[in-house]
């Protein structure tokens, strides 16, 4: 087992790094390739790769992901292989093992099954592994946890408590931009919408590059169906909180990909991190680039869909 690296700099003096989360939607391979060609040149430090939602999505296969990973690594990106959030079938475990057994790249576990397979080696956990308190974080650190993504439903205040007792060598990552991952199900809601059985879904998700919006009967855009996952229709945006996040000593800010405007979104985060634009101003610009609009309630201890710091 590799020894975790101690954090050397004082929290306030470190500039958080920027990461790009896995693509949560089902995009054609050509679009995935084009997207990561853009990312290779973009100012992100860390790129999470892989299918995290549905094992039926096979446009990009393991070998393809590994090839993309190598290309990004050649461009100086830290690559992390991300994994399925809901693991049910043996075939899914088999694929998960293949990812966990390679040692070229760090792996992000999105299910406790993956944690079990990775225990004893350095690994990361994504937001679908529940880590709500310091004792949980300590147990996982004892298994080799190197980085965790803060659960999206928790508040800034709780994060402050977690940061105080965070084990040495564990980095904290916060989902700073993207539609919120709200739930996973056995049922595929996209196939159901098209009246198709899950086992014969005919790549239903590929028609919805940013998922399928669910509106209330009084026309409020509320949720997004993304295969077996449900997301928020509104996009979480915490960039305005950058000063607070710096004070908390956060290591990494994560952007979750959407189908459009990604170059601009990454650029705004990069400029804010390099202090060349005011974070609140950059956050306001981000709001115009979202499929529906912003939300930031969880961070402030409110309903997730609330808009607290957002005009």
């Amino acid at each position: 087992m590799t020894e975790p690296q101690p954090l050397t700099a004082a929290p306030s003096s470190r500039r958080p790094r920027l990461s790009l989360g896995p693509i949560s939607y089902y995009w054609p391979k050509a679009e995935v390739d084009a997207f990561y060609a853009m990312v290779a040149e973009a100012p992100v430090d860390i790129v999470y790769l892989g299918e995290t939602i549905c094992s039926k999505r096979n446009q990009v296969r393991f070998e393809d992901w590994m090839a993309i990973a190598e290309r990004l690594a050649e461009h100086g990106k830290e690559v992390v292989l991300s994994t399925l959030a809901l693991v049910e079938a043996e075939s899914e475990l088999k694929r998960l093992r293949a990812i966990c057994e390679q040692s070229r790249f760090l792996v992000e576990a999105n299910d406790m099954g993956a944690v079990q397979l990775l225990a004893g080696r350095p690994f990361a956990i994504g937001h679908s592994v529940n880590c709500y308190n310091d004792r949980t974080l300590a147990v996982l650190a004892g298994q080799g946890l190197k980085r965790w993504v803060y659960p999206v439903e928790l508040t800034r205040e709780t994060l402050e408590q977690m940061q105080r007792t965070r084990p040495d060598g564990v980095e904290t990552e916060v989902m700073a931009y993207g539609r919120l991952p709200l739930a996973y199900s056995a049922r595929c809601f996209t196939a159901r919408h098209k009246d198709l059985p899950k086992d014969d879904c005919r790549d239903a998700c590929i028609d919805y590059a940013d998922g399928l919006v669910v509106n209330t009967q009084d026309d409020q855009q509320f949720l997004v169906l993304n295969g077996i996952q449900t997301q928020s229709a509104h996009t979480a945006n915490l960039l305005a909180e950058l000063p607070a996040m710096r004070r908390l000593g956060l290591d990494i800010l994560r952007i979750s990909p959407q189908s459009e405007h990604m170059e601009q979104i990454i650029a705004l985060f990069d400029q804010a991190l390099r202090d060349s634009v005011d974070p609140a101003e950059a956050a306001a610009q981000l709001n115009a680039l979202m499929p529906v609009g912003p939300c930031d309630g969880y961070w402030h201890g409110e309903a997730g869909m609330a808009k607290h710091a957002i005009a």
Binding site: L86, V87, E88, A89, E90, D111, M112, G113, V115, Q116, L117, A119, N130, C131, Y132, N133, D134, R135, T136, V139, E153, L154, T158, Q161, M162, T165, L180, L182, A183, Y184, S185, A186, R187, C188, F189, R192, H193, P197, K198, D199, L212, V213, V214, N215, T216, Q217, D218, D219, Q220, F222, L223, L225, T230, G297, Y298, E302, A303, G304, M305, A306
Partner: protein, 331 residues
């Protein structure tokens, strides 16, 4: 197979015990469990009475401590674990890794079950909880088909309990935050889904709207049957279609799968509904006891009696039942 029944208070516990439960599950009167509803659950003295009553009839008692504490609330969970150990309950049902770690280190003789809120859907996850905390049983989330349940059991280091009847979570339990997205309160953090405190019923001339956290979940014409606005069972508009985009208002009834569950090696079947009345608990427990006894007597000829099915249907949410995820086409 063991019949595990819900008890939200002492009368419900007695109803479950008197009608044939093998085990009952209960919770403390706070946010340490996933049925944190006003007026529900057990004050300390009632818990002692309940355990005494169940024990006197040979029925086991499990305490659910299955939400996810944040650092500032962790001490309360430790105290709840200590209290459960003092009470000598037959098992503690927990979900959080920190809570399981505390319980297994502080009370090594306390039997631990992984809650459905622990969200373990595969045997590798079960191995983690078994190796680190010595769990003896796990309750599987309502996402697996019956053949997947069998496969998990074939490889599982611990015995498996599955949901057999009651309200149906369509999402993987422990990883659904739809409720807090609309209200700020979720099963994980607060112990309640779609909490009543955030429900509004708004009547106009010709319709009744139900809102959760201000979000319109259901819109009914006057005189229609109106259900509770659980977020995932709402009627929404997607791409021009107005329908239950996530799930209909139905309940799980897996009785016809008892033979397959037994063949798969399921150790216990669980009835959902700590929030339901003692009358409900009595009715449902009685019918399931009869069904399990009938199955045990003649396993090859088991079919649910029509009167059981219709009686269970009448007390179900939406008065409809489904095999849910156990039956692949539902997925």
């Amino acid at each position: 197979m063991e019949l595990v029944c819900p008890a939200g208070n002492l009368p419900a516990l007695k109803a479950a015990v008197d009608n044939g439960a093998n085990a009952v599950y209960i919770g403390f009167r706070d946010d340490t469990n996933a049925r944190h509803f006003a007026g529900l659950n057990f004050a300390p003295n009632k818990m002692v009475d309940g355990i005494r009553y169940a024990r006197s009839k040979g029925v086991r008692v499990f305490i659910a401590l299955n939400t996810y504490p944040r650092p500032d609330g962790f001490r309360r969970f430790e105290q709840a674990v200590d209290r459960a150990a003092e009470l000598g309950v037959d098992a503690l049902i927990a979900a959080d890794i920190g809570v399981l770690d505390y319980a297994s280190r502080t009370h090594p003789r306390l039997s631990l079950h992984l809650s459905v809120q622990g969200s373990a859907t595969n045997y590798e996850a079960l191995r983690f909880y078994h190796e680190h905390f010595g769990i003896r049983r796990a309750v599987l989330p309502r996402v697996l088909s019956i053949s997947q349940v069998q496969h998990v059991i074939d490889q599982s280091p611990v015995e498996i309990e599955v949901f057999a009847f009651g309200s149906l979570c369509v999402m993987v339990e422990g990883r659904c935050i739809l409720s807090s997205y609309a209200t700020g309160r979720s099963p994980n953090t607060f112990g309640a889904c779609s909490p009543a405190s955030h429900v509004e019923w708004i009547e106009t001339e010709d319709k009744l709207d139900t809102r959760l956290g201000g979000v319109l979940i259901q819109r009914h014409a006057k005189g229609e049957n109106v259900g509770y606005p659980t977020l995932c069972k709402g009627t929404f508009n997607t791409d021009g279609q107005t329908y239950h985009a996530i799930e209909d208002a139905v309940s799980l009834n897996a009785m016809e799968l008892l033979p397959q569950m037994a063949a798969a090696g399921v150790k216990a079947v669980k009835i959902e509904g700590r929030q339901r009345s003692p009358v409900y608990v009595a009715q449902v427990t009685k019918i399931w006891r009869e069904a399990l006894d009938s199955f045990a007597k003649n396993p090859n000829a088991f079919t649910p009696k029509p009167e059981w099915t219709s009686a269970l249907g009448r007390v179900s949410e939406g008065a409809q039942t489904t095999l849910g995820p156990y039956h692949r086409p539902w997925q």
